[in-house]
Symmetry: C2
Subunit: 396 residues, 2 copies
Amino acid sequence: MLTAVTRSSVPVSRADVAARTGLTKATVSTQADRLLRARLIVEGEPVARVGPGRPAAGLSLCGDRVAAIGLEIGVDHLTGCVRDLRGAVRHRAVAVGDHRDRQPAEVVRAAADLVAGLRRDAVSDGLSIAGVGVGVPGLVDTLTGQVLLAPNLGWRRLEIGRPLSAAGDGVGVVVENEATLSALAEMGYPTSRSEPDVDTDAGFVVVSGEVGIGAGVVMDGELVRGRHGWSGELGHVTVDAGGDACGCGARGCLEVFAGQEAILLAAGRAEVVPTVRDLGSARAVDALGELVRAAEAGEGTALAALSRAGTALGVALSSAVNMLDVDAVVLGGIYARLAPWVVPQVERELSVRVLRSRLRPVRVVVSRIGPDAAMLGAAALVLRDVLSAPVPWLVS
Amino acid sequence: MLTAVTRSSVPVSRADVAARTGLTKATVSTQADRLLRARLIVEGEPVARVGPGRPAAGLSLCGDRVAAIGLEIGVDHLTGCVRDLRGAVRHRAVAVGDHRDRQPAEVVRAAADLVAGLRRDAVSDGLSIAGVGVGVPGLVDTLTGQVLLAPNLGWRRLEIGRPLSAAGDGVGVVVENEATLSALAEMGYPTSRSEPDVDTDAGFVVVSGEVGIGAGVVMDGELVRGRHGWSGELGHVTVDAGGDACGCGARGCLEVFAGQEAILLAAGRAEVVPTVRDLGSARAVDALGELVRAAEAGEGTALAALSRAGTALGVALSSAVNMLDVDAVVLGGIYARLAPWVVPQVERELSVRVLRSRLRPVRVVVSRIGPDAAMLGAAALVLRDVLSAPVPWLVS
């Protein structure tokens, strides 16, 4: 019942819900009343309807009671938000700093502080936190809340579920790979956008890149997490088996060509502070922004570095699509921002290297979500559980 | 009910079937009687049982009524069989010849002749043919029975379903990628082997290579066919973006390093007739057999060619596993035969290049099925449908 409300971008009437779910109108009315009392849905203005009959009141998700905290632990930043059941971001918090220079415990403490602050913000709005979703650039164990291996952070077997749960006053914490969460965000669920950019049934690979590069895979409308949740390690797909050494221990991985710092290095910008985002702080040096401006000005080194990165990204994505047979790739993370320079190279490699391109070209879509995708997906992971199993929230 | 019988490697009693399926004993007995009358199952000697009670008669699949024709269209051979419902191969037929030198229509005619001959063999055994499964090294449209693109055969948009159906006296024909069928065979369903070599739930990639290289992907016990059934194009996963030109139009694909002819060429055996199998014919030159003997004799060129192929195969498989997170790779096709020389390289590359190898090594399994995997899988595809929907066979 809640799912029928969620899937609609406009308020739906009880009759519509009954038609979509196959439930009787009486059952829908009873359930709607319980969800209304629990403030998981609201009843709005009458909905215009096609055909005869009087206008019916529209049901939509309610953003006033339940929310989730979404957190992304990046290599050079922590970004968190409070996202309500409607999908709206109610509060944001950011902490910048290169985590490679710090003890893991110190970073976890900073993350816990962020969560505690966001929880206070939520409580002051009268929101109940259903849980904390955390995105990490590495391999995780979702069951134990451990980060098993995050090469770019230098983390190995680090427990983060418990300290973050404590910071959230004991709520559940779910830890997931950040690229998988970006894919979830791209699926648009739960969403305030009217339509996702790609047909989720068609299958797609979402690239999520900053210092490292990850990917989320969606097939038949479902996340493909792999045997242990470790799928989508696009950053370590080989571009050139004899290439330069990668931080992972291998050679010629995609990250060597197209990771944020590899691009800046190739563009002769080794000295700039590698921080991706415009943080609204005067001190934040936006290295990627400088690169974009140099490329716009036609600076040769910048253009060459971006072309090399785009080509390598296209090679790795071609290997991925040859194995997976998906209809689209979605460029998120830094690649969304670098799209004017990398999309042509990616399209060219996909057209040359992917066998199925001879029959059906692979679509290249630039993500409109931006660098917040993993954080939004982290909150969505928690909210999705509330929507699919709302019973615990029905008792006030 | 049939599935419970299929899944057991030994005959099962009616009581066991009831326990496994959750059906009542009365229902199982009624269904068993119908299946016995239709000769889809047989009742054998009493089964030894654990615990009290008298020995019960064991039910197992019957091989005397229903069978399927499995056909593989390779680049240099046609191989077909009649496989009965128990999984036993009752008849075989082979036709050798390089199809690249012939008109597609001529090859399809030869395949139709093979099917017609196998059908006659089946009929003379009193078997009914449930359908024809066909494996092709390329991208297919299973709905229309078209081969859409098979670069190594030089085929494009070739209808093969209809002529093969006619040859089989109007039976249904299902066309599928040969590597996908090899993966199905590796899943051991239906099987006469007691256990598959790999845990199908754990996920694995099956490599099926001869002139071209393909792969079948199994995750959560299911074939992963991709959006259009075109997944598993391992032969066109990039090993070295700047490498030699591939027949597909790209550069540095796996096939350039590890396809059968690439290996023979690198081993200084360009002149030998590229036929993989020991066909029992004095005229058949077993080029791969010669290579194996040279490697066994420690010939440097042969060893270098195999080492290069094994390394490239390991690189491509590493990219695949990084994206898919499967627990094992299964080496079939020519790689099963070349295992002593390629397995160490594949294991080394997987251990260095796959991020999850730091946490859980990827198993390398050598297929025991041999070069018949695609043909056996083709028949299995048809038999699987009979087992899951036996109703049409219940009316005699």
